[in-house]
Amino acid sequence: MALLSVDELSVTFGGVHGRKESTAVDGVSFDVDQGQVVGLVGESGCGKSVTSLALMGLLPGKGVKLGGRADFDGNNLLTMSQRELREMRGKEIAMIFQDPLSSLNPVVPIGVQVTEILQRHRGLKGEPARKEAAHLLDRVGIPDPTRRLKEYPHQLSGGMRQRALIAMAVACAPRLLIADEPTTALDVTIQAQILELLKELVDEEGTALLMITHDLGVVAGLCDQVNVLYAGKVVESADRHELFAHPMHPYAHGLLESIPRLDAPRGEPLKPIRGSINDRIAWADGCAFAPRCDYYTIECLTGTPALTVPAAAGHQVRCVNPVREPVEIATLETPDVTATAHGGTSA
């Protein structure tokens, strides 16, 4: 059975003192198996980060309604008590955040920020903790770790900071690692290195990785299974090759088409998706993507489209009239991470 299986997860904000409710995540389901890398793709605001926070139990208690279930080997994360979650976090499930600078405590030395988690979950104190911390920093490729331990975040470079964060995340060899846009805040070259590092770690440890990104390049480079999110719902879910070969949902299709192609003839314009995520309609009335959709027909407006399996097994699509013709992707087979890392900028 899956390590993490999310089933009809929904997150609703507001409702407290007069603020109107808004549903950020609207019945999302997906699984993550042992050692598997699963991508959660979509433009910002599609609810992918909220999903991750919901799984970690990091959403504020007040003004947030959770629905569905998210079973982490058998027990539902959503109903766990804070105390249980505290036990779980950092040890079983760890998370890497988007902005390494703001995600590190500016007034606490890196060393402490690493050792504190070791102390918490592995009971390491003092010298041994420091040794282990140094070892971790070394492992994530931070040179001269013992010196770095004493330094403060502002003294590190962006890449280093992200490495440090990763070091903390993997410190207790968690079984699931959630990475929320881990590379977005970094320069392109660094991005690649970080992705490489993640890849290594996952391969070595057999850690499952839930990669949350808007960057199809990252997905192409890393993920086994990909879920495309739009307006809080999974609109397409397939394994990497299948998706890149035959994206069926017009949105996914659009995303892929909008990747600038290195081999595209000069002068050929890019093909971005029209409009923004704000021009949408409620899922209840029909397909939220309809307003931006090239293939949109009147049928799209008859209630929420169901997740169907029109083609290959395990390739689900939430669309009334899926796209049939494939897109040519320069990087379809064995995508080279560094080449595509700076690819998708659709959102």
Binding site: M56, G90, A94, R120, Y152, L165, M168
Partner: protein, 334 residues
């Protein structure tokens, strides 16, 4: 670090000089001298004139200012017209009392204010939040002397829990070493004296604490609210750290930065609060002394005091900056 200290102290000099001129020009526009202060209705014009002549108050302003500067240069703040004693002695005599009071007040303000502010922030919108916010607002809005009167009326006169005036009961003659009544008791082992002094401190300290307390509560609250939303707190949570670690190491250590600055500035303002508080409780500190100095136009004392305050103010800010650079690594670098 050392350079910072030196630079600040150098900056102090022009400040004080400017201040001295300012004050001198001000105060010398005031009429009269010590004569009528001493003699009351018995002072006849002739006598006033004679005494002013004796003191050289009849000489032109610039000469007087010359004398004044010379004195200042010799670190001689002059002589109090109220008491006929050197201003410096009067200060050293009374300052410990005020310092003791201010410290007590600050301790109350900090010890109560920071936790309260934190809790208010964490239970935002809750009754505690509401209570402490309104409380602190009232604390800012209630005239200090009125608060003093009420506290005194209720806890000293009605209930008789605390004494109404003074620093120590008259029958306790504690040996005076540092001038800090509480401390002296501890040093000499006269614990009853210490306790007695402490009991005398409570009401004035609480009164004096009201404003800093209010400010600290609100600052802490605001700054905790801000920090709680920071990414690194989320990171800490994502590591599954115990609550107290998250609170202490990750929230408070950042949230307190602005509060530290505030505390520094407040300490300055305490001294003017002391003027009112001490005179309501006739607390034998510099505050009540200054109050009479104000109404009796004891210029040497006023000038001396204001210079003194300016000095303290600068020193406190210096300390704040040092403290700041100790707790915030980002400052240390440049």
């Amino acid at each position: 670090m050392l350079r910072l200290v030196i630079r600040r102290l150098l900056q102090l000099i022009p400040t004080l000089l400017g201040l001295s001129v300012l004050l001198f020009v001000w105060l010398n526009r005031l009429p009269g001298g010590p004569a009528s202060a001493i003699l009351g209705e018995r002072a006849t014009e002739a006598e006033v004139a004679r005494i002013n002549k004796l003191l050289g108050l009849d000489q032109p302003l610039y000469i007087q200012y010359g004398r004044f500067l010379k004195r200042i240069a010799e670190l001689d703040l002059g002589t109090s017209t109220q008491t006929g004693q050197p201003v410096w002695d009067e200060f050293t005599l009374r300052f410990p009392a005020t310092v003791e009071l201010s410290i007590a007040a600050m301790i109350i303000a900090i010890a109560v204010g920071i936790p309260l502010g934190y809790l208010a922030a964490r239970h935002r919108g809750g009754w505690l939040d509401l209570g402490s916010v309104t409380g602190s607002l009232i604390g800012i809005c209630i005239p200090v002397f009125f608060l003093a009167l009420i506290l005194k009326g209720i806890f000293a006169v009605e209930m008789g829990i605390f004494p109404t005036t003074g620093r120590q009961s008259t029958d306790i003659n504690a040996t005076d070493i540092t001038g800090f009544a509480v401390l002296d008791g501890l040093i000499t082992g006269e614990f009853d004296a210490s306790w007695d002094a402490l009991v005398h401190l409570v009401l004035p300290a609480v009164t004096l604490a009201s404003i800093p307390l209010a400010v600290i509560v609100r600052m802490t609250r605001a700054s905790v609210l801000e920090v709680v939303g920071e990414d690194y707190v989320r990171t800490a949570e994502s590591k599954g750290l115990e609550r107290k670690v998250v609170r202490g190491r990750h929230i408070m250590r950042n949230a307190l930065l602005p509060v530290v600055t505030a505390v520094g500035l407040l300490t300055g303002s305490l001294l003017s609060g002391a003027v009112l508080t001490e005179s309501v409780f006739t607390f034998g500190g510099i505050g009540s002394f200054i109050r009479t100095a104000i109404s009796e136009r004891d210029y040497p004392v006023l000038v001396g005091f204001i210079m003194f305050i300016a000095l303290i103010y600068v020193l406190i800010n210096l300390l704040v900056d040092l403290a700041y650079s100790l707790i915030d690594p980002r400052v240390r670098v440049h």
